[in-house]
Symmetry: D2
Subunit: 151 residues, 4 copies
């Protein structure tokens, strides 16, 4: 099994096997060892403030954490030298978010949202990602920075 | 209308009129100008990792942001000198999270969760809260720090 | 007095009248309402770890805070409509860092360092900057995100 | 060599062999595997804003990072099962700050400052500390949260 197929499988796990991501209706736009991009549609249940039809801050933090975590997993797989299913599963089981900072820039208005992540530190134990959230008009809604345990 | 009743009404708005908070099934345990506490029950839709029955990181960030935001609103009301509905609504409309840091400490296992917030900086324009998330066994799951625009 | 001259004076205050910045030997490379860049030379007193000749994390956080704060001041001046000295000084006196996140990416090795800042949120009360630190070989050493009170 | 002596030696290294900490005139008040406390006196070179005799934000971030890093080192030593000098030095060489958040609460006025740290997550690869800075009147000046690589 090669790395590209493994990374595709990780993307599948994120969107098809994680109940909260299914609730968010996340789709993977692109994923490799350097960057990740996901999208999700507006849903009325995402509303935080009833006076304004905008995303709840928790939804924003959740998708930023998702896209960064997906990239951390892809970066981890990219460094693997052994490809047996057991060692891969053991590695992925250790993956976890250590901390996440979200900077809320503008109200979360839109009909379709895209979250993207870039790797800014990639180590054997820890990696750090920077994330962004935009709506369908390319207006930036939020920034994120997260540290993941990968080893 | 006095401050205590106004703060109670803010609590009501948070849990009854915000669709995402209704989805999370948040209840207010206590709320005054110095501290806030909310609780919510386990739901299977909160699962992040299918291999482990634990809270998705996004759910954790969402409830920490909620409890901190509720406290920021209560602290804002506590400083009001005019109590007409229009000025209160104008003030509350400006309330927003500027940034949020979540520190994920332990897997989010449990059947009933409690999130609490304390005010660590309370200004006319900005306030800063520290938050904690525990399960029903008093195991701490996460820490949070958030800055809110209040003026 | 026009805005460009005022912004130049702010730069002067940062490097000539702040004792800790004089200790750091900071020079302003460029400063306008959208971006800022400063530089500083290696000094042995900056060493954190004696085993390695690298910048102490505190020096890194200090220069990131500096370059972001300088940009926040320039952005504040750019929004002014009145230019009398008293209102400008009153505005600048309120400027302060609310919170700062530093992500340490690589060991702080080098002989000349450059810190740069971009404005990612610019409001009347609060602005948010993202900062980067590089050495003379363009190796990135750190990332920063800071929220400033500006009103 | 037992753990208590080793931890004392780490404290010595922090204050006696790190040039930037010597510049800050840091003294260790207490250090064990659960908490750390350091103190330092006012110096005019610490001034950020010339109009106000208060600590530069960079000095505040530096001391918070110091006290957290010292605690991370003590916690790392406390978990050791082998005590030969070489393995200890190898472990300590890997210690590094991954990220640091500082929340500036009040102006840094005072003649003698105390920074303290508590361990909130202690793992084999990563540990997370929360820090506080007070002046001699017990007025809290800042809060910090930092993630350290320890393995």
């Amino acid at each position: 099994m090669n790395k590209t197929i493994l990374i595709e499988q990780v993307a599948k796990v994120f969107v098809e096997q994680m109940p909260f991501n299914q609730f968010l209706q996340i789709k993977v736009v692109s994923l490799d060892a350097e960057q990740a991009q996901i999208s999700f549609p507006w849903q009325d249940v995402f509303i935080g403030n009833p006076a304004q039809k905008i995303l709840h801050g928790g939804v924003i933090s959740a998708v930023l954490d998702n896209v960064g975590g997906m990239l951390a997993a892809a970066a981890m797989i990219d460094k693997l030298t052994e490809f047996d299913i057991v060692s891969i599963q053991q590695k992925l089981a250790t993956l976890g978010t250590i901390d996440l900072r979200t900077d809320y820039l503008r109200p979360g208005k839109g009909v379709e949202f895209t979250a993207s992540a870039k790797l800014i530190r990639s180590g054997n134990k820890v990696c750090v990602c920077r994330m962004e959230l935009h709506n369908e008009k390319r207006t930036q809604i939020a920034f994120g920075t997260a540290t993941y345990l990968v080893g």
